[in-house]
């Protein structure tokens, strides 16, 4: 099924078309279930979350606006947001995290930038331009739903500097994506 087909299905779901909803579920539920499983790390919770997510998709389909990005990005965002809301609400951060301080540039890695400027596209190419640990942290946060606390432990970085550390990476990522 192409991105266009999915876009069309979402538009029909917005009109209350039950058949389109069933088709949309068949086409996308295994992907969204994978998202829930990765982030919630618990099968029963992932099943509950998936149910809630599709109820939300049914109700919010009219808010979908086709864009340059794939319609999957809209569906995945709903699934990720719902799953992350669940884990963040159940495990509030125990300790204060640093506020943004100085985001000034760090020395670039010319070798990495040279490799990265080859033929890779988009997010992969841009993550590749970052120092490895920072790229891994951003991937981990996106794919596994890690919190700042978890990232600090994994990267062995004090909790009071992890936010500035990650934000530097996000700033570089943004610059690259906008190039």
């Amino acid at each position: 099924m192409t991105a266009n087909d999915i876009s069309l299905l979402i538009s029909r779901v917005a009109l209350g078309n039950r058949e389109a909803f069933t088709d949309l579920y068949s086409a996308t539920s295994s992907k969204l279930f994978a998202v829930c499983l990765r982030i919630l790390n618990n099968r029963a919770e992932a099943e509950d979350a998936l149910q809630e997510i599709y109820v939300k998709i049914w109700r919010d389909a009219s808010k979908y606006a086709p864009s340059d990005f794939s319609p999957m990005s809209w569906l995945i965002a709903i699934a990720r947001n719902h799953s992350i809301d669940k884990i963040r609400a159940s495990k509030p951060a125990a300790v204060d995290i640093d506020e943004m301080t100085d985001l000034s540039d760090e020395a670039a890695d010319p070798e990495k930038e040279a490799i990265a400027s080859s033929d890779r596209r988009g997010i992969d190419r841009c993550l590749n331009e970052l120092p490895d640990t920072r790229a891994a942290a951003i991937r981990g946060a996106y794919l596994e739903g890690y919190s700042y606390q978890e990232l600090a432990e994994q990267q062995n970085i004090p909790l009071n500097t992890i936010r500035t550390w990650l934000r530097r990476g996000l700033l570089k990522l943004k610059e690259c994506l906008e190039r």
């Binding site: 990765r38 109820v55 109700r59 794939s70 990005s73 995945i76 965002a77």
Partner: protein, 240 residues
């Protein structure tokens, strides 16, 4: 003086943090509350969601068990009468409730106008208006909605409940989130549809640009002084 660029950059990174999901819960809720009223912020979120979704291949598909779809169908199509449009039936219609809460907001704005009054200053030096703040609190789940009206002169926060009530043995607690600070308790949401909360002296001048949120707490309020339960609804205090 701050230029647009100064403001745009941190919001851009904040949007990335929101999309990644790394923000602590209170900040996450505060950010989500801003999204409903700030189109440029929504565009930044869409930028990051779109780009990060290029990583979707790394989520290897897993078929969910069929009971999930049965559950969804049961929830969406429960009453046979509502099998077509998601918005059919005013009772189940989110739009209806949104409209209702908009009406409440308008009503409160009118009330605020009457209530705060325009008091002629001594010697007729023009009107003095006490700042009044309205906040419309809503959440992701659409299950809880409140409207609050705060009069800085009296320190009274009026709370009007549009939707949702705490479960037995639970209370809704009100929080004030100022900038990136930790939420500070404003007290419990009064029982009943309407009520008043007397705002603690120290918080009375903190409403400008603040976020007001409610969380689900044990009966009588959070035992720790910090929100312990999920934040159910939040909204920005708007000066009127």
């Amino acid at each position: 003086m701050t230029t647009e660029d100064d403001i745009k950059e941190p919001d851009d990174i904040l949007a990335a943090e929101y999309v990644l999901g790394v923000l602590p819960h209170a900040e996450r809720v505060a950010f989500a509350a801003r999204l409903s009223s700030e189109a440029s912020l929504r565009a930044r979120v869409q930028f990051w969601e779109g780009h990060f979704a290029e990583l979707e291949d790394e989520f290897a598909p897993v078929s969910p068990p069929s009971r999930v779809f049965s559950g969804i169908e049961a929830e969406i199509f429960a009453s046979g009468a509502r099998s077509s449009a998601p918005t059919s039936g005013w009772w189940g219609s989110v739009g209806f409730w949104r409209g209702l809460s908009a009406i409440s907001l308008v009503a409160l704005v009118i009330l605020a106008g009457l209530y705060s009054g325009i008091i002629a200053g001594p010697g007729g030096s023009g009107p003095i208006v006490a700042p009044v703040f309205v906040a419309e609190l809503s959440g992701e789940s659409d299950e809880v909605e409140l409207v609050t009206l705060y009069d800085a002169r009296s320190g009274i926060l009026k709370v009007s409940r549009v939707k949702g009530a705490p479960a037995a043995g639970r209370s809704f607690e009100l929080w004030l989130i100022e900038g990136g600070n930790d939420p500070v308790s404003l007290g419990l949401v009064p029982t009943g549809d309407r009520g008043e909360v007397t705002v603690p002296e120290a918080l009375r001048d903190k409403f400008s640009e603040a976020i007001i949120a409610i969380s689900d707490e044990p009966e009588g309020g959070s035992p720790t002084g910090k929100a312990t339960g999920p934040v159910l609804a939040a909204g920005k205090a708007i000066e009127i």
